[in-house]
């Protein structure tokens, strides 16, 4: 193994993460988080979602600012393309989650990262959502994620970063395992 003279710095506060792991292991209630988003329909297929607060560590929490996201469908769907397609937000979530994981695992393993680029692609057969063929599912028929990583580590050690990141990724879990989704409605 290469001798590491300097400590890696990927900008991840691993000590805080490890501290949280220990603290939350002993306080399981504080570990229960609720993530939230709200959305307002604009027109057509365009809506604006906002992300603002969440619940965790036993109390309400706030992001530093309110984040707004336009979602729409592209022009080939006869839409106005005022934002990314909702399915693309799913890819954005997966990319963000896996990449954050790579950085955190690298920090924990004292591996200096120089660049991490992820390219994602999801296949989808529109015959599903258009109701043409009931044997075709609405969602993705598969997702591929390709990482290109420049780091001070061997090929296998970099592969292990990516593998460990998947193992600990929330979005990877959400996409690879079934999740209960309950939708309710009120007339206003």
């Amino acid at each position: 193994m290469d001798t590491q003279v300097t400590a890696a710095d990927n900008g991840v506060n691993v000590a805080a993460l490890l501290g949280a792991r220990e603290a939350l292991g002993e306080a399981p209630e504080a570990a229960r988080f609720k993530w939230r988003a709200t959305s307002e329909w604009q027109n057509g297929t365009h809506s604006v979602s906002t992300v603002d607060g969440f619940f965790g560590l036993g109390e309400e929490q706030k992001h530093r600012t309110t984040f707004r996201y336009d979602s729409d469908h592209p022009e080939v769907f006869a839409s106005e393309d005022k934002g990314a397609t909702p399915v693309e937000f799913v890819l954005v979530g997966l990319a963000g989650c896996l990449t954050a994981g790579v950085a955190a695992v690298a920090q924990n393993r004292n591996i200096q990262l120089h660049s991490v680029r992820a390219t994602l692609e999801a296949g989808m057969d529109l015959q599903g959502i258009l109701g043409i063929d009931s044997n075709v599912r609405n969602g993705f028929d598969g997702v591929t994620v390709h990482f290109e990583i420049d780091a001070d580590a061997s090929k296998d050690d970099i592969a292990a970063l990516v593998a460990q990141s998947q193992k600990r990724s929330a979005v990877f879990d959400i996409m690879t395992n079934p999740t209960d989704v309950t939708v309710t409605v009120d007339k206003r």
Partner: protein, 427 residues
């Protein structure tokens, strides 16, 4: 059992060891060596769970030469072979006879409770009083089932690896084997060979070749010190203790059993069983990563072995590489009510049963609170759990070091708490 019957005094002794498997007998040997009075209470016969709770074709994952206990070792003519269940029963029974262990067979311990400065051991044949107690009842008393088991439709028969004996027990038709430790892989192979289609649900697992550079993988792990690694030396003890058994099988030809081999034979490999909903088993889409993790981990193990062999100048065959695990596009669901699957075999792990300890020694998840075998109650010890003190703690050959150290701890505790007048006379 009437209350009166359960209170019938059976005896008073310094130490009660519960369980006459290899761990309990090794502790008995250690206590005898130290001149500490004790009895070994056994619900059935010596090596009881080996006699009654293992499948027929099971062989040890360690070669015969590794089967050794304090004052006793394998003396047969096949040191590189692997003991069958019958061989293990004979081995442990011979040990009990040779060491003249004070085993009382047919005593089922119902409850252990605090009593004065010691314990009352309530059995179905009277109570024992002791100052120290060693729980050597094993790590595999109960099969662990995932929550998904609740949703399995009633027409599918469910069986645990603890109840499974051989394929003839199973209905004709498909079998879903859940779990990819040594148990899951061995049973998937055996059941497939019996003519039943097998689907194997695979989560995180540990891949290992049977032999590496001409020697048994267990030889390398032992020689390089990996099996002697102590629980204090690992980053995450809870995780280390929960690692599934490596995908190994003990056969005459010392062959490697892995997912590639099973798929080549015809077993269908799918992802971890994520749930059962509306009669449909749902498999995780994370199989590729589970395999990548296991492949990478195996490469790291073999690289560590190579580095150690180089440093020590070990004469062995050339370094070997192993093909990565190649999975295609595994299906993500399986309709259990269609008749395709007649049986689900749960090979999802085991847990020990300490429900007979009526003592405040459990954490919030019901796990026994102990530090490397020293239970969080004075004079109480546990043996034989995975990575209890060392990686080898649950192996037959792992008992020796553990009973020596825990025996010393126990002896010191007895000595400290011995009433002055008694020790005065003893001296």
């Amino acid at each position: 059992m009437s209350a009166r019957e359960s209170r019938r005094p059976a005896g008073t002794v310094d130490v009660v060891v519960v369980g006459a498997g290899h761990s309990g007998l090794a502790m008995s040997f250690e206590l005898a060596r130290r001149g500490i009075g004790h009895v070994v209470l056994e619900r059935g016969e010596v090596a009881n769970s080996w006699r009654s709770e293992r499948w027929d074709s099971l062989c040890l994952l360690t070669p015969n030469w590794m089967s050794r206990l304090p004052g006793f070792c394998y003396a047969g003519d096949d040191p590189d072979g692997y003991m069958t269940v019958k061989d293990v029963v004979a081995f442990v029974s011979t040990y009990a006879r040779r060491t003249a262990a004070p085993v009382l067979c047919g005593y089922t311990v119902r409850r252990v409770e605090a009593c004065g400065d010691g314990y009352r051991v309530v059995t179905d044949r009277g109570d024992w009083h002791c100052r120290a107690l060693v729980a050597a009842t094993g790590a595999c008393n109960q099969a662990l089932l995932p929550a998904a088991a609740d949703g399995v439709p009633s027409q599918v028969r469910q069986l645990t690896a603890r109840e499974y004996r051989n394929p003839e027990q199973l209905d004709a038709g498909g079998v879903l084997v859940v779990g990819a430790s040594a148990t899951g892989l061995q049973l998937a192979e055996e059941i497939y060979a019996s003519g039943r289609p097998v689907t194997l649900a695979v989560g995180e697992h540990v891949r290992m070749p049977r032999t590496y550079r001409g020697r048994d993988i267990q030889w390398w792990m032992l020689a390089a010190g990996l099996l002697d690694q102590r629980i204090e030396e690992v980053d995450d003890p809870a995780r280390a203790r929960g690692v599934p058994s490596p995908q190994l099988i003990g056969t005459r030809e010392r062959r490697t059993l892995d997912l590639n081999a099973l798929m080549k034979q015809g077993v269908e490999v799918v992802g971890r069983l994520a749930g059962v909903r509306d009669g449909k088993a749902q498999f995780s889409g994370s199989l590729a990563n589970a395999c990548a993790l296991a492949d990478l981990k195996m490469k790291r193990l073999l690289a560590a072995i190579d580095r150690w062999a180089d440093a020590k100048g070990i004469v062995a065959g050339p370094a070997e590489g192993f093909a990565p695990t190649v999975i295609g596009k595994p299906r993500l669901g399986l309709t259990l009510s269609s008749g395709e699957v007649r049986t689900i075999l749960w090979a999802t792990g085991f847990r020990p049963d300490f429900s007979w300890l009526a003592l405040p020694v459990f954490d919030r998840k019901g796990r026994l609170r102990h530090s490397a075998g020293v239970v969080d109650a004075p004079g109480l010890y546990v043996l034989g759990l995975p990575f209890l003190r060392r990686r080898k703690s649950s192996f037959i050959h792992g008992a020796g070091d553990d009973v020596r150290e825990l025996g010393a701890h126990l002896a010191a505790w007895l000595h400290r708490t011995t009433p002055a007048r008694v020790s005065g006379i003893a001296v």
